[in-house]
């Protein structure tokens, strides 16, 4: 994509502009709160208090953040190769099959540290499988990845309803879900991590997959900026024609990137299935795949930005529940609005304030240059 904008210093590019965009998104969200007839500052207070007020709340915030780190990384990896993977939702959903199969198979005979690696492999396998087809179709048949991944989200949803109502449901049960896993299918909580800071995790399902998410973030950083494959992905993302000249096989990179992206999205399933519900339920993803788009855009597709962005959305989800509890006219759908506004201002309108900021910096630069000149004379 051609960017007809002048280069700005790093702290403006990666710090100031995202912050301004975020501030505008929250400002508009505040207007919606006003429109509903509530006080936006009171809502903000409940948001912050609900997310950080107690050890348990922090545990919930980080539990949601874990999920969003996975889906955010999934979208970001694809972004680097110039691919828009909008199918994280479906990939995470299908990835759940891998987690559920591992747990259903071994949970009664093996401890969690044997089941967990298998579940990781399973979730990555199924998530990558669900992303492989759109990737392959884009690479070999030229079908647009955005459209195919949207279609695959819907197909995944139908497939999972079928599997949960007919195949994975225990006999004699009516609810569309697998049986509850025994001890081996339940991940240990990270209560010790919070107790270092003197916090009590309470009932929050903050579990070990948070550490896996951090490891995945580090792995993505290594992959994108420290490996040959990552270099090839970025080259293709910046300029497909340059990549072609350099002898990079586009179709290979497309398929591999999509599979990595799908695998990361699939790993998201570990957190709710093995960490909270201890069974696979209908719609356990709950839009986390789409939150990943907002997280990746806000985090500028860099793991160092994605982790804070994921925590921010964790705050919104946990604090939003508190707002819904304290202020009944603001339901949790408020989060969906904020999510949309963040995607709009940090994504589609990311350049809205750039000309003004560039001008401000150009003027400052000129003044500085003028000062140097007068001193020199």
């Amino acid at each position: 994509m051609s960017t007809p904008y002048a280069k700005l210093p790093g702290w403006v590019e990666y710090g100031l502009i995202p912050l301004i965009n975020l501030a505008v998104a929250f400002l508009v969200a505040g207007l919606v709160v006003l429109l509903v007839g509530e006080n936006p500052f009171e809502a903000a207070y409940h948001l912050i208090n609900g997310a950080f007020g107690r050890g348990e709340y922090i545990g919930f915030t980080l539990y949601y953040a874990t999920t969003f780190i996975f889906t955010g990384l999934a979208v970001a990896v694809a972004f680097h190769a110039g691919l828009f993977n909008i199918g994280g939702e479906g990939q995470a959903y299908v990835g759940g099959i891998g987690v559920a199969l591992a747990c259903l198979w071994l949970d009664q005979v093996m401890p969690w540290y044997v089941v967990f690696p298998l579940a990781i492999v399973g979730s990555v396998f199924f998530g990558a499988l669900w992303a492989f087809l759109p990737g392959w179709l884009q690479a070999k048949r030229g079908s647009h990845i955005v459209i195919t991944t949207i279609m695959f989200n819907f197909i995944a949803s139908s497939l999972m309803v079928y599997l949960l109502t007919r195949v994975l449901k225990p006999l004699g049960s009516m609810a569309p879900q697998t049986r509850t896993f025994a001890e081996g299918g339940q991940l240990p909580k990270l209560d010790w991590l919070l107790s270092i800071f003197g916090l009590n995790v309470g009932t929050a399902p903050f579990n070990i997959s948070f550490l896996l998410a951090l490891a995945a973030a580090f792995g993505v950083w290594v992959l994108i900026w420290r490996t040959k494959l990552g270099y090839e992905m970025r080259t293709m993302g910046h300029s497909p024609s340059a990549a072609r000249y350099a002898g990079i096989r586009e179709s290979r990179i497309t398929v591999i990137t999509m599979m990595i992206s799908g695998g990361l999205a699939g790993m998201m399933a570990l957190n709710p299935i093995m960490g909270e519900q201890f069974r696979m339920q209908l719609d356990f993803v709950q839009g986390a795949g789409f939150v990943g788009i907002a997280v990746a855009l806000m985090g500028r597709s860099h793991p160092g930005g994605i982790i804070p962005a994921a925590i921010l959305f964790g705050v919104l989800y946990q604090g939003g529940a508190e707002i819904a509890f304290e202020m009944p006219s603001i339901s949790r759908d408020m989060i969906v609005i904020i999510q949309g506004l963040v995607i709009l201002f940090a994504g589609a309108l990311e350049n809205m304030f750039r000309p003004a900021i560039t001008r401000a910096f150009a003027m400052r630069g000129q003044r500085a240059a003028a000062v140097v000149q007068t001193k020199g004379a």
Binding site: I147, M151, G340
Partner: protein, 323 residues
């Protein structure tokens, strides 16, 4: 005769569920032919349905509801236009954003204004569209074969239904037989050439986006003022995406759009009809398979196994005037 009767009922419900698809897919046709991708059809339709339901409930006037639907839908289209035409942002990202903003705000505002769990109040007779009986429908009902086709299949629909199917040739005429249409298609294929000819690419694309808004407004109004009596949260239920699939399936051509929408509508009607009844030869078809079929068909088409769907060449690319 029994089979014939079932077929007429099936086709009648096919028409009923196809209408919002036809409006929305034609809406997408206008913007995408002008080079602006739009996956925000779903959001615009939902926003329009909410505006229609809310305004019609307050004013007790179906026409005010329709007007509100169209205005809100145009407004949302202009947000998409501003982001993707003026600000040269990513068009997919903008569409996703609009879908989320609308999905959330219709529930929040609906709950705050009407307090009925995200619904708008049920509309009285004057505040929603009534079905129209074509002249002589009752008289010819007894005529074999042609009677039921006229009386049950063609007659007894809403005004918006007839408008939707009239919009198909109208869109064809606008796109293929007027100067505006020619330029609109040109701007989706080669905006540089249009700019060289001294025509504003920006203004043309904005007009295409407004056309899209109007048509999505009709789609939304149909959902909450005709199909049901009031707005229910999330009532578009993915219809915007099915319309998008139909648009691609139709290879961005008006007449094909209608047939694609009818096909997807037929699958929908059939899925409801076949629920729980086994078919000869194949046995019972899972209803989920029927629901997924439009998406699967679109994927197969996109893969080039049924002809080739070639999108407008400049689609998705913001236009940067050379300096």
């Amino acid at each position: 005769m029994d089979f014939f009767h079932v077929l007429v009922v099936l086709l009648e419900s096919t028409i009923r569920v196809s209408v919002p698809l036809v409006f929305a897919a034609l809406a997408g046709l206008f913007t995408e032919r002008a080079g602006v991708f739009d996956i925000g059809l779903e959001g615009k339709m939902l926003g329009a349905a909410f505006a229609a339901g809310a305004v019609a409930a307050v004013t007790q006037s179906v026409w005010m509801g329709l007007l509100a639907a169209i205005l809100i839908s145009i407004l949302l289209s202009l947000v998409h236009g501003y982001a993707s035409i003026t600000q040269r942002g990513n068009q997919i990202v903008s569409g996703v954003a609009i879908n989320f903003i609308v999905a959330g705000s219709t529930v929040i505002l609906g709950e705050a204004w009407f307090r009925q769990g995200g619904r708008t109040p049920a509309l009285a007779e004057g505040a929603r569209f009534q079905t129209i009986n074509l002249p002589g429908a009752d008289a010819v009902r007894e005529v074999p074969v042609l009677g039921p086709i006229y009386a049950d299949l063609l007659s007894g629909h809403f005004l918006l239904t007839y408008l939707a199917f009239a919009m198909v040739p109208a869109s064809w005429w606008i796109l293929y037989r007027t100067r505006f249409g020619l330029r609109l298609r040109a701007v989706g294929e080669n905006p540089g050439a249009v700019d060289t000819a001294g025509i504003s690419v920006i203004w043309l694309r904005y007009r295409a986006v407004i056309c899209c808004g109007i048509l999505c407004g009709f789609a939304g109004a149909y959902l909450s003022l005709a199909m049901t009596a009031g707005f229910v949260k999330g009532m578009t239920a993915g219809k915007g995406y099915i319309a998008l699939a139909a648009l691609i399936f139709a290879k961005w051509r008006p007449k094909n759009v209608m047939f694609a929408c009818l096909l997807f509508g037929f699958l929908d009607a059939l899925a409801i009809r076949l629920q729980g009844t086994p078919l000869p030869l194949v046995g019972q078809v899972p209803v989920q398979l029927m629901q997924a079929l439009p998406y699967i068909l679109t994927v197969i088409l996109l893969a080039g196994f049924i002809g080739k769907a070639i999108p407008p060449k400049a689609g998705g690319v913001p236009y940067v005037k050379e300096r």
